[in-house]
């Protein structure tokens, strides 16, 4: 028995395997983190290309480039890919890289499961993208796939879509079980829950949300499958069911899902702001409670996505007030970020710029969300470009900016090389200007009544749409610059120190840059209690 144990101790001293099998067979959290992040980056360009098609079509009124049928497929797959293929995998990739290093664990708790969680994602998205070349074309019913658009009127490829969603869900659930188990079971001695870095806290709660709602999504697509192929009547009024039932089940999943896409961002931004303010985060405990309250509230607000389906007035009121309640913990967070910066010794490196932009622009998205929460006002805004502006503000300068900020912030740690600060700042300013150019005018056309998901529009919206399209093209091109900055850092970057950032706190900064292939094989002792942050 002892021989076996010694054997595996020896294993730990050599580095990664060579060649492609390193990535196929890996059980290393750093490798799997990189796989997730690169997968997400590739999907960003695929989903982004679809956005470019959409904006090219909307550049001028009238039918321009693609058929309405293909436009629907673009809108649908842009949404699905950005949500399930970009934002979520990027956060899981960050979780893989960072959580073990931040809590002083040797790896994720279940390393083989971790590899499986990643490798089924390319399978699921491969099938989803393959539907473009199948009879009937790709899914065309919007990323929310409301019945009956996704059942009675769906293309035959919906069956593949359903199973692909099952696989994405399985990936998320397995990944989340791994994250939650790692956090609960693998913390270094002395790291109590209330001493954990905020990114770890945000992921603990995100993982809980994922395990709670991804199975509900699986239930929803299963009901679709049964309605389409096996004669059931979940979403058919003729049999006693109700198409609105689909929306209830979908949004019971969907609303926690949108917080899944923002909570880890809160953690990231907290770290970056405290580092570049050279102050510990203001109100650590309230940050934790705020994330937890947002997560719990997210289970009781879902029907604010469907104020116009004709709910009883009591329902409208309940979901209106519960939604507005979320503004309180969110306000606490924004207040804490600003207070952290207040009287700090601020410097404005690229990650900090993205983090500050996150705070400002995410707040805009949050405030338009508050407008949408008002049921009678929502009757006007529902399914207009105002909604598109709202959720793009929380997802692009919100979630995506936080991911970009995280990459700039931790890239020197991961690769051991600094990125080019000038190019990084150029990328930031181009992105910042173009993201507002793209999404701010959408508020105006939305309030004026331009409906979403339509390939053509009235003449009155022409000017703003042209501005939006120009902004979108610029934003798309700016992300190519991001790819260049990342590659340049990896291949030609200057050597980074272990500490990297002067004000950075936390266990990952005590490691070399890049860290050894296996870190914290014996856990660091934190009884002195300086792990926070």
């Amino acid at each position: 028995m002892s021989a076996v144990i010694e054997g595996h101790h020896d294993d730990h001293h050599h580095g990664p395997a060579k060649g492609i099998t390193r990535w196929l067979y890996t059980t290393n959290h750093k490798d799997i983190g990189s796989l997730y992040l690169w997968f997400s980056f590739i999907m960003l360009f695929i989903g982004g290309a679809m956005a470019m098609v959409i904006r090219a079509e909307l550049f001028e009124p009238g039918s321009q480039i693609v058929s309405p049928e293909f436009y629907n497929q673009m809108v649908t797959n842009h949404g699905l890919i950005m949500v399930f293929g970009v934002i979520m995998p990027a956060f899981v990739g960050l979780a893989n890289w960072l959580i073990p290093m931040q809590i002083g664990a040797p790896d994720m708790a279940l390393p083989r499961l971790n590899n499986l969680s990643f490798w089924i994602l390319p399978a699921a998205f491969g099938v989803l993208l393959a539907t473009f070349f199948m009879e009937g074309g790709a899914p065309n019913f919007g990323w929310t796939f409301y019945a009956p658009l996704s059942t009675e009127y769906a293309p035959p490829t919906v069956t593949y879509f359903i199973f692909a969603v099952h696989i994405m869900g399985a990936s998320s659930i397995m990944g989340s079980i791994n994250v939650i188990t790692t956090i609960l079971n693998m913390r270094a001695p002395g790291m109590t829950l209330m001493k954990m870095p905020l990114f770890v806290w945000s992921w603990l709660i995100t993982a809980y949300l994922l395990i709670a709602v991804m199975p509900v999504l699986a239930g929803a697509v299963t009901m679709m499958l049964m309605d389409i192929h096996f004669g059931t009547s979940f979403f058919k009024a003729g049999g006693g069911g109700d198409p609105v039932l689909f929306q209830h089940i979908f949004w019971f999943f969907g609303h926690p899902e949108v917080y899944i896409m923002i909570l880890p961002a809160f953690g990231i931004v907290s770290h970056i702001i405290e580092t570049f303010s050279r102050k510990p985060i203001f109100g650590y405990d309230s940050m934790v409670y705020a994330i937890a309250s947002i997560a719990l509230l997210s289970f009781v607000v879902w029907a604010h996505h469907m104020f116009t389906v004709g709910m009883p007035i009591a329902g409208e009121l309940f979901f209106m007030y519960s939604t507005m309640l979320i503004a309180i913990p969110t306000g606490v967070k924004v207040f804490n970020w600003l207070s952290t910066m207040f009287k700090g010794s601020l410097t404005f490196e690229t990650p900090m710029l993205f983090a500050i932009a996150f705070v400002a622009l995410f707040t805009i998205g949050g405030l338009s969300g508050l407008m949408l929460a008002i049921a009678p006002a929502d009757f006007q805004y529902h399914d207009t470009y105002f909604v598109v502006a709202h959720f793009h503000y929380v997802l692009v300068p919100g979630a995506l900016f936080s991911i970009i900020a995280a990459v700039y912030y931790w890239l020197p740690k991961w690769t051991g090389y600094m990125y080019d600060e000038f190019m990084g700042k150029t990328h930031f300013w181009l992105s910042f200007v173009s993201v507002n150019l793209t999404f701010f005018p959408m508020h105006f056309v939305g309030l004026a009544g331009m409906p979403r998901r339509i390939p053509d529009y009235a003449m009155q919206f022409a000017d703003y749409n042209m501005i939006v399209s120009v902004g979108a093209f610029l934003f798309g091109l700016s992300q190519l610059l991001f790819l260049y900055v990342v590659l340049k850092a990896i291949f030609y970057g200057k050597k980074a120190t272990g500490q990297v950032w002067e004000g950075a706190q936390g266990l990952e900064w005590t490691l070399d840059s890049p860290p050894a292939y296996h870190t914290f094989e014996t856990p660091p002792n934190l009884e002195a209690g300086e792990a926070k942050g």
């Binding site: 595996h8 499961l113 099938v127 079980i177 709670a212 039932l245």
Partner: protein, 300 residues
Amino acid sequence: MSSDSSYYVPESSKLPIFMAFGLLLFVLGAGSTINDLGKESSNSYILLMTSFAVIWGVMFVWFSNVINENNKGMYSDQLNQSFVWGMAWFIFSEVMFFFAFFLALGYVRMFSVPWLGGEGEKAIANILWPTFEATWPVMVTPDNETFPGAEKNMNMPGITKLYTWLPFWNTLCLVTSSGTIALAEAALKKGKRAAFKSWMVVTISLGFIFVFLQGLEYYEAYAHMGLTLGAGIYGTTFFLLTGFHGFHVCLGAIILTIMTIRGFGGAFSEHDHFGLAAGSWYWHFVDVVWIFLVLVVYVF
């Protein structure tokens, strides 16, 4: 086995990528098989069957590896605790899967069916089928030509005729089996291997009796009660809830059968029997779901 203090991280593994390949085949196989339903000649099912073979094969090797690694003493207490958390959260995810179907049942019973029948503020839905009268179970559907409704329902026939009612015997089987597996576990912890094995055999027998009775009930439903998947919302919710539950009973029974076979082969010790414990939690979970299911699907 918990002699090693360091956390075991396998250096690399071929298993996950093969499993991912199996799942890719499954998506393609299941999608094409279902899309080809009703077509004269289709070979798609071969792909589906291949995927099952790959998935089950990988699972077999994977579990064998884990058992072997544990027997070699490579797992620390901390790693065993990871398995505990992993299983617990997996069961939570299963609970939420059932929650979706309970939510659907609750919604149609509380809202959509009464609204179709003209109740409340949504009385407007009644315009669609003015003759429809809301009752539960829905025996006559709004569009009775497309969804023919059921002739009989599965509701409890009254206390005196309880013994003629299959769900009663099903409940008895499942609740008893939850007790017997607890007895099996307790016996194992005390080192009484003979009692452990006997209670395991009793448990899985009860499990398979449940599956058999459920099959009998489905046969009755289709053959004599006009209750089918296509019979409208009552048949829909009835078959999907009991069907997914029955599927999970099958999974649980397979897990416990494997655990029993391993038990007969000398596996598990008083202090190290996580496979059995996890199977037992799963079995209790299936039991609890059934209790809720009996209440809302059959009784009330």
